[in-house]
């Protein structure tokens, strides 16, 4: 594995990762707290600043790289995963972060999104899901719920939305985590976790767009819903939630159900234990699909499976081929095969 990361000379701080550019999101936008979580997370990774690259497409979210004091490339709409793939393959030592809005990732960029996941290239994709097109002033996105009234759906959207988790796992994704912009600590934790995963890490952040889709995630994020509608999953831990962790998730045939500890004789033993590392994604999909009002929403690392990354595979292949190679320079290659001399 040539993918070893240099360790910086001195311990970096949050400040070191903040660029000198004025942050220009709308006041109150959820993007601010994501930015802050990121500048909190990076120093924990012990990667020199110059080895960190932020790539993005276009959108409000995609302005992110300008605000990071690292290398950054604000590319074109939806193509971030493709550019990031080129960056990572050109220099596997880099810690590559790719920032996408829901439109960027799942509308115009849908194809690159699923293919990055399939190839399992070792980059970290942070998906800012505000269920709206922010930058272009409020059209519905592929994650907007049916019925949403937006500039381009004055009578309410008639489309069925994607669910990021299902698309990610359907595309053979190896890492899927979900978090919310109102929980900085969880975000920071998950960014660090994502960075450490070898392969394409997909972190979906439920992000609030105050201007065009305010409170889209309130059913989960609102203070009063925190206990009943957030389930923080952890590998190896029982799926408990609610005030004092009194509620839990139980398997019933091929269905999940919410149960209360102590009621009807239910004990912790009945509660499903999270296995993020299972190759088979059945459980991950079931957890990811949970949503209010009948279920809490699962937050945290839902799937984390180790599979060979695309960059690893390339390095391995090169090593093998080089070992058996008959020539070692273009000069040799040109001379190989059928040649003749005119004297």
């Amino acid at each position: 594995m040539e993918n070893t990361i240099d360790i910086p000379q001195q311990k970096l701080t949050k400040k070191d990762f903040e660029s000198d550019q004025l942050v220009r999101w709308c006041p109150g936008c959820g993007d601010y707290s994501i930015l802050s979580a990121m500048t909190n997370a990076l120093p924990q990774l012990n990667i020199p600043r110059e080895n960190v690259v932020f790539i993005s497409g276009i959108g409000c979210a995609a302005r992110f790289p300008y605000y990071m004091n690292t290398y950054g490339f604000h590319t074109i709409h939806g193509r971030g995963p493709a550019v990031a793939t080129g960056v990572k393959l050109a220099n596997p030592k880099l810690s590559v972060w790719e920032i996408q809005g829901d439109g960027d990732a799942m509308a115009i960029g849908g194809n690159h999104f699923i293919h990055a996941l399939r190839r399992n290239i070792d980059i970290n994709i942070i998906l800012f899901n505000n269920e709206i097109y922010g930058l272009t002033k409020g059209q519905y996105s592929p994650t907007s719920p049916t019925g949403l009234v937006t500039k381009s759906t004055p009578y309410g959207s008639i489309e069925r939305p994607f669910h990021a988790a299902e698309l990610v796992i359907g595309a053979q994704g190896t890492f899927y985590a979900r978090t919310i912009d109102t929980n900085p600590k969880l975000m920071t934790e998950i960014f660090v976790h994502a960075a450490k995963h070898m392969g394409t890490s997909l972190v979906e952040v439920l992000q609030n767009c105050v201007i065009f889709n305010d409170d889209a995630h309130a059913a989960v994020t609102a203070r009063e819903n925190r206990d009943d509608f957030q389930l923080h999953v952890k590998h190896g831990q029982p799926l408990l939630f609610g005030k004092e962790n009194k509620k839990g998730i139980r398997l019933n045939g091929l269905k999940l159900e919410v149960v209360t500890l102590g009621e009807n004789g239910i004990t912790e033993k009945d509660i499903l234990v999270h296995d993020a590392h299972a190759e088979d994604p059945t459980l991950h999909l079931m957890l990811a699909r949970m949503a209010p009002p009948h279920f809490p929403m699962a937050l945290g690392v839902i799937r984390e499976v180790r599979a060979k990354t695309y960059d690893e595979a390339i390095a391995e292949e090169r090593e093998k081929i080089t070992k058996n190679a008959k020539y070692h320079s273009v000069d040799d290659l040109l001379k190989s095969g059928e040649t003749w001399e005119i004297k």
Binding site: E50, V53, I76, G86, V87, N91, V330, D331, G337, W340
Partner: protein, 619 residues
């Protein structure tokens, strides 16, 4: 060889050049036969050029016209620039091959056919109403009816080979006949056969037997009119190999990366006729090549941009429909000022068009095909082997000028091949990287080299040069986002000027001719061989005709105006509707720029060009 290969007594005749065409079913091994003939002729010292003619369908039913595969080669004792207009000798392995290839045979030339294949069923399958051997179709040709199949079978008797394998050796029989006809040695091909069938000695033996049987059969029969001699050409000394345009392109890219000490990153999506560059590069991952078959052309170019941004040599290859998809991303590279090489192997269009045929109609999209003011360097290779040089130069220009370079080749160059005196890496021109520098401790990503106006290549991983770039308009020097009107105008003009100044770094046009002609023939890209041959032949006939050929399309060579203004008539010949002529007219108003165009998915014929030029010289 209009004046040389004649019917007549069985003597040896000397020829300056000759065109041979092999045609048969896809499974008949015509490409191999042609390559072997070419290789043997090259060793013998001929100059030559070859072109394969693949069927459009993957594998059409056997015996149908759609399934015919052809290979044409011109060999000469003089310099050869094209595979030739029409075949002096056509080898047709079955009726379908005859049906579809008769159009390429010279009237008065020789046609060698496998008589055994001309049975009713095959004749009908090929779409003939009556037997062409009997109905007068071939009256204008010298037809040699050889029982190739049955003689091959006979020659291979006792070898324990199944019928399929035996029939697969037919091509060697035909090749043997050609070797006798042109007085060539069987040695090289025998060696090749031994190598190829090392693991199946019976097949090796069978193929060799067929080869020899063909040779001896030709020696014996009366039908072959004469034996021909094409003496060695006077060719520059050196070590040669055959190379096709696509292979040369792949190798040129690799050479540039190796020269730079960088990796070559190819992001590509398969498309005819460009895919072979991807295939070739995929084979050389031990030489610092990374190939990524992307999910589509947009991902292909974007991954190449990412790789360039991160400090390797980022390249993408495609053809028309794929190039159309890359425009937005190329614009990003223009704005971000990162190096990028885009290879466009042009094919017949518009839309899906004629995917297996050649055309030169992507000048417009290369020069103009991006939103807003988005200048790119555009260059074009002109022979299969100089695809190497121009691929190398594409990388050099992209990196030295920090901007996208579009290299145009075409289906004709891509699949055609010719002998090539290949260079040593050490002899190739150096490629200079614009190294980033800090001014008073701060790094300005959009600071420029005062001569080229190129910005520096500050790649992620470099300590202290962290910076952000993107597709929004950039502030001069800092590269920060800027909506300032004056800055925008300055940056648009700077990007244009940067590309315009590339003219200072490319060779001037070379005029072929005395300069006192009244007609200047102008070409660009893959039509070089045909145009040069036609002009030279007329010059030899003392016509006042000159020729310039463009490899640099944007910017144009600095001496273009100076050369052009001497002529009454400037005739731009292209395999399109006049795209380069139109571009030249827009740059040089007031000159008499005329067009000769052909849009048939086929290269120019030398005879056709000569006729056109003579007409233009008349009035």
């Amino acid at each position: 060889m209009d004046d040389t290969l004649v019917n007549g007594t069985k003597t040896t005749k000397e020829l300056e050049k000759v065109v041979i065409r092999f045609a048969g079913d896809s499974g008949d091994g015509m490409q191999l036969t042609g390559s072997q003939f070419s290789f043997t002729s090259a060793l013998w010292g001929n100059d030559l050029a070859t072109f394969p003619d693949f069927p459009a369908e993957i594998r059409a039913p056997q015996g149908t016209v759609e399934g015919v595969s052809g290979f044409q080669v011109q060999i000469g004792k003089i310099d050869i620039y094209t595979p030739g207009d029409q075949a002096d000798v056509l080898v047709a392995m079955n009726p379908a091959a005859l049906k579809s290839n008769l159009q390429f045979a010279r009237k008065g030339g020789n046609i060698i056919i496998d008589m055994d294949a001309f049975v009713d069923r095959n004749i009908e399958k090929a779409g003939f109403k009556t037997n062409p051997l009997e109905d007068g179709t071939l009256n204008d040709y010298n037809v040699v009816e050889a029982p190739i199949s049955s003689l091959t079978k006979a020659a291979l008797e006792g070898l324990q080979l199944d019928n399929k394998s035996i029939m697969r050796s037919k091509n060697m029989f035909a090749l043997g006949m050609m070797y006798w006809l042109f007085d060539r040695s069987l040695k090289e091909t025998e060696k090749y056969i031994e190598d190829k069938f090392r693991k199946t000695p019976a097949l090796a033996e069978g193929n060799k037997r067929a080869l020899n049987a063909g040779y001896h059969y030709a020696e014996t029969i009366e039908a072959l009119p004469a034996r021909y001699k094409v003496p060695p050409a006077s060719i520059e000394k050196g070590v040669y190999r055959h190379v096709s345009g696509n292979t040369a392109t792949a190798w040129g890219l690799m050479a540039a990366a190796e020269k730079l000490g960088k990796q070559l990153f190819l992001g590509s999506y398969p498309i005819t006729p460009a895919s072979d560059i991807l295939h070739e590069l995929s084979r050389h991952k031990n030489l610092g090549v990374i190939t990524m078959q992307a999910e589509d052309e947009i991902a292909a170019v974007c991954s190449a941009i990412g790789a360039s941004y991160a400090g390797q040599v980022g390249v993408t290859t495609s053809s028309g429909p794929g190039i159309a998809l890359k425009g937005e991303a190329i614009g990003l590279a223009v704005m971000a000022e990162v190096p990028l090489v885009v290879v466009d192997v042009q094919r017949g269009g518009p839309s899906t068009g004629l995917p297996t045929k050649t055309e030169q109609a992507d000048i417009n999209i290369a020069v103009y095909g991006r939103n807003s003011e988005s200048p790119a360097i555009v260059i074009a290779a002109s022979t299969p082997s100089n695809c190497f040089e121009f691929a190398y130069r594409a990388v050099k220009l992209a990196i030295e000028h920090m901007t996208p370079v579009i290299l145009l080749t075409d289906g004709y160059l891509a699949n055609g091949s010719e002998p090539w005196k290949f260079p040593k890496l050490a002899d190739l021109p150096p490629i200079k990287i614009n190294e980033p520098q800090k001014t008073n401790g701060t790094y300005h990503p959009y600071a420029r080299n005062p001569e080229t106006l190129a910005r520096a290549w500050a790649v992620p991983g470099t300590t202290g040069l962290e910076h952000r770039i993107g597709g929004l308009e950039k502030q001069d020097l800092t590269g920060n986002v800027s909506y300032d009107p004056q800055n925008h105008e300055k940056m648009v003009r700077t990007r244009a000027e940067k590309v315009a100044r590339v003219a200072n770094y490319i060779p001037e046009l070379e005029r072929i001719g005395t300069g006192d002609g009244k007609l200047l023939v102008v070409g660009w890209g893959g039509t070089y061989g045909g145009l040069l041959t036609a002009v030279k032949e007329l010059q030899q006939a003392n016509k006042k005709i000159d020729f310039v050929h463009f490899n640099y399309i944007n910017p144009l060579p600095k001496n273009t105006q100076q050369i052009f203004e001497k002529y009454d008539k400037i005739l731009v010949c292209e395999l399109n509707m006049g795209q380069f002529a139109s571009l030249l007219r827009s740059k040089f108003p007031g000159l008499n720029i005329l067009s000769y165009n052909k849009i048939q998915g086929q290269p120019f014929l030398v005879t056709e060009l000569k006729e056109v030029f003579i007409n233009h010289l008349k009035d």
